[in-house]
């Protein structure tokens, strides 16, 4: 890993989000907010439909980095802004979210800054998303 340079692109990951994935994440995380599984409630509060947990998108996005770096133990800092919801329909196909990442800095202390991009329906859903990695 001595030749990591700014601009290096990490392998892209495409993830399919279905309603069942939202239910699975709700159980694993303990976040049972109704807007992540009940269409009636989601519409009533002004959402376009059931939306994925922002934290599910954040949790999936870091896999672009951990698969390249080795494991979550390599992550020293990770932050995102939630800018758009991922709307997940009640069907068998789900929706696709595409995650990309690129090295944006190699720091003097040996850590590497990696910018992360998450795209759903042609638009980014995370803003200012980056991880600091120690290999």
């Amino acid at each position: 890993m001595t030749n990591v340079e700014v601009g290096l692109e990490l392998p892209e990951i495409k993830v399919n989000f279905k309603r069942s994935d939202l239910v699975q994440y709700a159980g694993a995380s303990g976040d049972f907010n109704i807007i992540h599984w009940n269409e009636r409630t989601a519409l009533a509060v002004g959402l376009p439909g059931v939306i994925a947990h922002g934290m599910l998108t954040m949790g999936q996005a870091i896999n672009v980095v951990t698969r390249w770096a080795g494991s979550p133990a390599n992550i020293v800092d990770y932050s995102v802004r939630f800018t758009r919801p991922v709307v997940v329909p009640d069907d068998d196909n789900g929706v696709e979210v595409v995650f990309n990442a690129k090295v944006s800095a190699v720091n003097e202390d040996g850590t590497i800054k990696i910018d992360i991009n998450a795209v759903f329906d042609g638009k980014t859903v995370l803003g200012k998303a980056f991880a600091i990695v120690r290999l």
Binding site: Y25, G30, T66, G70, S71, R81, A131
Partner: protein, 149 residues
């Protein structure tokens, strides 16, 4: 009830402890698609120098969101949870969380600001091991939507 601006800088200790379970680590890893060996395979985790399975990067949200939410919705702070949208999130690690850790969380109200009729509150959770060493710091930014004008 409105957010209490004077709560900025206040810290809230919780007497709850959270024991990180090995199967919970696996369950969370499956839910977020984390396939690293050290999150699933005990032998691999030990071979990599860890005492047990390594928790996925965002795992601590399963602990902190509720504890930090309890602090933010206390009468002293006054956050209305039913009007909250998750704005931003950060995790900073001193070391990875591993199964077997017994965690406690101290919540600090870092900032409250008004933006276009909404309020943004930034909470910091300091996550400690049972020996009181700091493992991670977790920042959660919540937007409290204002009442419709």
């Amino acid at each position: 009830m409105a957010l209490n601006l004077e709560s900025v800088g206040r810290s809230f200790t919780s007497d709850r402890t959270y024991l990180v379970g090995r199967e919970k680590v696996r369950e969370f890893a499956r839910a977020v698609g984390e396939t690293a060996d050290v999150c699933h395979d005990l032998a691999a985790a030990k071979a990599a120098g860890f005492s047990d399975l390594v928790a996925p990067t965002t795992f601590s949200i399963a602990i902190t969101l509720e504890i930090m939410g309890d602090a933010a919705t206390s009468p002293e702070v006054g956050l209305n949870w039913s009007r909250v949208v998750h704005g931003d999130q950060r995790f900073k690690f001193e070391r990875p969380i591993v199964a077997g850790d017994e965690l406690t969380v101290m919540t600090t109200i870092e900032e409250i600001k008004a933006i276009a009729g909404n309020h943004m509150i930034t909470l910091r959770g300091d996550v400690f091991a049972s020996d009181k060493s700091l493992i991670a710091q977790v920042w959660t930014g919540l937007v409290e939507r204002g009442e419709a004008a």
